[in-house]
C-alpha cells in the first residue's frame, strides 16, 4: 500500500459558489506547495483535510490517507499533523507536558519520559522538559511545536504558513529542519504558503490556487 495523501476532486463551496478545487496526490516524502494570494481559501483547504471545516463552507470530494478514505472521520482520528504560523504551544503546560500531550496513549511513564527527552535532544533542546514555553525563544518554540507534532506519530503533515512568523535567518533554519525530518520519516506533506522561497526550498510540485471570486 502506497504511503500518500490524496485529494480526489476536492471542491470547497461557500454559498454554493466554488472557492477552491484541488485534485492531487502527494506521495510519501514529497512536499506539495499550494500557493495563492491571501484570502483565496488556502487555510480553508487545510481545515477540510483536518476535519475542521466551518459550517458556512461546504466541502466535496475525498481525502485519502494511505489509500483509506478519511473524509468522514472526526479530526482526532485522522492522524494528520498540522503546524501553524504560530507555535500554539499550550501555555498552561510545560514543554515536556506539551510533548506528552501529543504522544499516543500507552507505554510506561519512564518510556514516555525518555521519548520526550530523546526528541528534545534531537532538536538541540536537551533539558528543556520542565521549562515554561513562554520563556523560550521563537526558534525554540517552533522546534518544540514540530517535535510535539512528530511525537503524535502522524501519517501526513500539513503546514499552514508555518514559517511566516519567523525572521529570515531562523526561517531558513527551521524550514530545513522540518523538510529534513519529514524526508526521514517519509511523510507526505502539504504546505500552503504565499512565499515562493518556501515553495522552492521544498523542492516538490507547486500548485497555484486561483480566486474564483474575481470580479
Amino acid at each position: 500500500m502506497n504511503k500518500s495523501l490524496s485529494l480526489r476532486n476536492v471542491c470547497i463551496l461557500r454559498d454554493g459558489i466554488p472557492l477552491i478545487e484541488v485534485d492531487h496526490e502527494v506521495s510519501a516524502g514529497e512536499v506539495l506547495s499550494v500557493m495563492g494570494p491571501s484570502g483565496v481559501g488556502k487555510s480553508t483547504l487545510l481545515a477540510y483535510i483536518t476535519g475542521n471545516l466551518h459550517p458556512v463552507f461546504k466541502g466535496m470530494g475525498e481525502v485519502l490517507l494511505n489509500g483509506n478514505d478519511i473524509t468522514g472521520l472526526p479530526p482526532h482520528k485522522r492522524e494528520i499533523g498540522i503546524l501553524f504560523q504560530d507555535d500554539l504551544l499550550f501555555p498552561h503546560m510545560s514543554v515536556g507536558e506539551n510533548l506528552a500531550f501529543g504522544i499516543p496513549r500507552g507505554g510506561s511513564r519512564a518510556e514516555r519520559r525518555s521519548k520526550i527527552e530523546n526528541a528534545l535532544c534531537d532538536v538541540g533542546l536537551d533539558g528543556f522538559s520542565d521549562r515554561d514555553p513562554a520563556t523560550l525563544s521563537g526558534g525554540q518554540r517552533a522546534r518544540v511545536a514540530l517535535v510535539r507534532m512528530l511525537l503524535s506519530d502522524p501519517k501526513a503533515l500539513l503546514l499552514d504558513e508555518a514559517f511566516s512568523r519567523l525572521d529570515a535567518e531562523l526561517r531558513a533554519h527551521v524550514r530545513e529542519l522540518v523538510f529534513r525530518v519529514v524526508k526521514e520519516r517519509n511523510l507526505p506533506v502539504l504546505m500552503v504558503t504565499h512565499d515562493l522561497e518556501d515553495a522552492k526550498s521544498a523542492g516538490g510540485p507547486i500548485i497555484e490556487l486561483e480566486s474564483y471570486t474575481k470580479k
Partner: protein
C-alpha cells in the same frame, strides 16, 4: 446531551419568567383558587385604582427610573469621552470595578450612613460650618421625590455602565477614530461623542435598558432609601403580596401588571429618546462644531465619577465603623468608643446566614456554569454563534421587572402545592445568575484561538479532551471571574430570596434589608459589611487563584 443544553438553558432562564407572568395575570383578573376566588373579573384593577397612592407611586417609578438611568449614563459617557486612554481613566476604572460586585442593598445602606442628617457628611461639617449640635430635622433619606433613591441607584449603576462601555470600546477601535477627529481639529470630548459614541451606544443599549427596568422596579434599595408614604409601586406590590389577607394579592397582581406596563412604556419612551438624540446628533455633526473649551466638561465628569465611586467606598467604610461603634455622639466624626460587642451580638447569626447565602449562591452558580459552558461548547462545535435574537433572550429576564413575575411565580408554586424553600430559591436565583455568567464568559470564550483545538485534535485528542485539558485550563481566569460575577449576583438577590423562599430562606441580603426599618445601625453595619465581603471575596479569589496556580506559566498572564 450537549445539543439540548441551549434549550435547557433557555428554559431555566425564561421558564420561571413566563410561569411567573402567568401567575400574575390570573390573580390580576380575579382568579385565585387558593383564596376561593375565581375570575375573570376587573375588581382587582378597581381596587388598585381606588388606592390613594397610585398616581404618586407610578410617577415615582417612572421618574426614578428615567432620571437614575440618564444621570448614570451621562456621567459614564462624559467621563469616557473626556478621559478614556488616560492614566486617570485607568485609575478610576480600577476603583470602580470592584464596586460592581457590592450588593445594591449594602451600597444603599452605606450611602444612607453618609447622607443622613446624622450621617458622616453632616458630622464632618458640624458644628463648624452648620452650627448643628444635634442632627437637623431634615428629610434627606426617604424624601418624597425619591432623590436619595435616585442617588443610591446612580452610584451602583455608574460602575456597571462604565464596565459595559469599556467592554464595548474594545470592539469599536476608538483610538483611531479619535485621532482622525483630533487631527481635523475636534476637541477630545466632541470628537469622541461624534465618532465613537454612536458605535459604543449600539453595544451598550441592552445594558442601559436593564438599568432602566431595574431602577424603575427595584425593591431593596427603595425600602432603604425610597419614600415610604406612599412607597414606590414595587415596594407596595411586595407589601400587598405579603399581606395576610389573601385577597390583597389580587390588588398586588394588578399592580404588578401596571408595573410591567410602566416599564414597557418607559423602554418605548427611551427608545424614542434614542431616535431623537440620534437625529439631533446628526445635525450637530453636520454643523462641524469642533468643540472648544471642553475643560469644564472634563473636570465635571471626573468630579461626578469620583463622587459616585467615593460614595460607595466611604459608605462601606461607614458600615465598617458602625459595626464596631460603641456610643457615638453627634457631631463627632468617629465613635466615642470602639467595641466588638456588636459583632459578639450579631456575628454568630450573621455567619450562619453567610453559610446559607453561600449554599444558595454556590449551587446556583454551579448550575449556571454547567449550562453556560455547555451552551458555549455546543456553539463552538456547531460553529453557529449566538444570534442577535439570542442575545435579546439573554437579557429578557433582566428586562422584565422582578415584581411582575416573582410574586406570580410564588402564587403558582403555592397553587400547585409545591414546597417553597431553598430549592425553588436556587432556581429563582438561576434566572438572574445565568444571563450575567453568560455575558461575562461569552466574549473571552469566543475570543479563544480555536487553532488550539485544531492542533489538539490533530494530536489525537477527542473534542471533550480538548474541552477539559486545553480550553478550560487556558480559560481559568475568565471562568473564575464569571463565577465571582455569578456569586455576587446571587448574594445580592433580595426579592427572589424573600418571595420564593416564603420567609424560610434567610440570606445576608434579606436579613440586612429586614433591619432597615428597625434602624439599628450597628446591626446594619455588621450585616452590610458581611454582605459586601460575601460578594467581594470571590472576586479577590478570582484574581489570586490563577496567579498562584499558573505562577510558573507566563503565557497564562498575558
Amino acid at each position: 446531551m450537549l445539543r439540548f443544553l441551549p434549550a435547557l438553558t433557555l428554559f431555566a432562564m425564561l421558564g420561571p419568567v413566563a410561569a411567573g407572568l402567568w401567575g400574575t395575570v390570573l390573580p390580576a383578573f380575579g382568579h385565585l383558587p387558593a383564596a376561593g376566588l375565581t375570575g375573570p373579573s376587573l375588581d382587582p384593577f378597581r381596587t388598585l385604582l381606588d388606592w390613594a397612592g397610585l398616581a404618586s407611586a407610578s410617577r415615582l417609578s417612572l421618574s426614578t427610573g428615567l432620571i437614575a438611568t440618564s444621570v448614570s449614563l451621562a456621567i459614564v459617557i462624559l467621563f469616557v469621552a473626556g478621559w478614556s486612554g488616560t492614566r486617570t481613566f485607568r485609575l478610576l476604572e480600577r476603583l470602580l470595578s470592584p464596586l460592581l460586585s457590592v450588593p445594591h442593598a449594602a451600597a444603599a445602606f452605606g450611602l444612607a450612613f453618609l447622607i443622613a442628617p446624622s450621617g458622616w457628611i453632616a458630622r464632618l461639617v458640624s458644628p463648624t460650618l452648620t452650627g448643628w449640635d444635634r442632627p437637623p430635622d431634615l428629610l434627606i433619606l426617604q424624601d418624597p421625590l425619591g432623590l436619595a433613591l435616585i442617588a443610591g441607584l446612580v452610584v451602583k449603576e455608574v460602575p456597571f455602565l462604565l464596565l459595559m462601555t469599556i467592554a464595548a470600546l474594545g470592539q469599536a477601535q476608538p483610538r483611531r477614530s479619535l485621532m482622525v477627529a483630533q487631527s481635523l481639529g475636534y476637541g477630545r470630548v466632541t470628537g469622541w461623542l461624534k465618532t465613537v459614541f454612536p458605535r459604543v451606544y449600539d453595544q451598550i443599549r441592552l445594558p442601559v435598558y436593564v438599568v432602566l427596568a431595574y431602577s424603575m422596579s427595584v425593591v431593596d434599595v427603595a425600602m432603604i432609601l425610597g419614600p415610604s408614604t406612599p412607597p414606590t409601586l414595587s415596594v407596595q406590590i411586595v407589601k400587598w403580596m405579603g399581606d395576610p389577607d389573601l385577597s390583597m394579592r389580587l390588588t398586588g397582581a394588578a399592580a404588578a401588571l401596571l408595573q410591567l406596563a410602566l416599564v414597557i412604556f418607559a423602554l418605548a419612551f427611551w427608545w424614542g429618546g434614542e431616535r431623537a438624540i440620534a437625529w439631533l446628533g446628526r445635525i450637530w455633526i453636520e454643523t462641524g462644531h469642533r468643540g472648544q473649551k471642553e475643560a469644564p466638561i472634563r473636570v465635571i465628569s471626573l468630579g461626578l465619577g469620583s463622587v459616585s465611586s467615593l460614595a460607595v467606598l466611604l459608605g462601606i467604610a461607614g458600615l465598617a465603623v458602625w459595626s464596631v461603634a460603641g456610643f457615638w455622639s453627634f457631631p463627632n466624626s468617629l465613635p466615642d468608643a470602639i467595641t466588638l460587642k456588636n459583632w459578639d451580638r450579631h456575628g454568630p447569626a450573621a455567619f450562619q446566614t453567610f453559610g446559607e447565602t453561600f449554599i444558595v449562591a454556590g449551587i446556583a452558580v454551579g448550575l449556571a456554569l454547567i449550562l453556560v459552558l455547555g451552551c458555549l461548547e455546543a456553539e463552538h462545535r456547531s460553529g453557529r454563534p449566538l444570534s442577535r435574537r439570542g442575545i435579546w433572550l439573554l437579557y429578557l429576564p433582566l428586562l422584565v421587572p422582578q415584581t411582575a413575575f416573582l410574586p406570580g411565580l410564588q402564587t403558582l408554586l403555592l397553587n400547585i402545592g409545591a414546597d417553597i424553600g431553598r430549592a425553588p430559591v436556587i432556581f429563582a436565583h438561576l434566572v438572574f445568575v445565568l444571563p450575567y455568567v453568560f455575558l461575562s464568559l461569552g466574549d473571552p470564550w469566543r475570543s479563544w484561538d480555536t487553532r488550539n483545538a485544531t492542533v489538539a485534535g490533530a494530536l489525537g485528542t477527542t473534542p471533550w479532551g480538548v474541552f477539559w485539558r486545553v480550553r478550560l485550563p487556558m480559560l481559568t481566569r475568565p471562568i473564575l471571574t464569571a463565577t465571582a460575577v455569578g456569586i455576587a449576583v446571587s448574594v445580592g438577590q433580595y426579592l427572589a430570596t424573600l418571595i420564593i423562599g416564603g420567609g424560610r430562606v434567610a440570606t445576608l441580603t434579606t436579613e440586612a434589608v429586614a433591619l432597615a426599618s428597625g434602624g439599628d445601625r450597628r446591626a446594619i453595619g455588621v450585616y452590610g459589611l458581611m454582605q459586601t465581603f460575601a460578594a467581594l471575596v470571590p472576586f479577590a479569589l478570582a484574581l489570586t487563584i490563577p496567579t498562584l496556580l499558573w505562577r510558573n506559566r507566563r503565557g497564562m498572564h498575558e
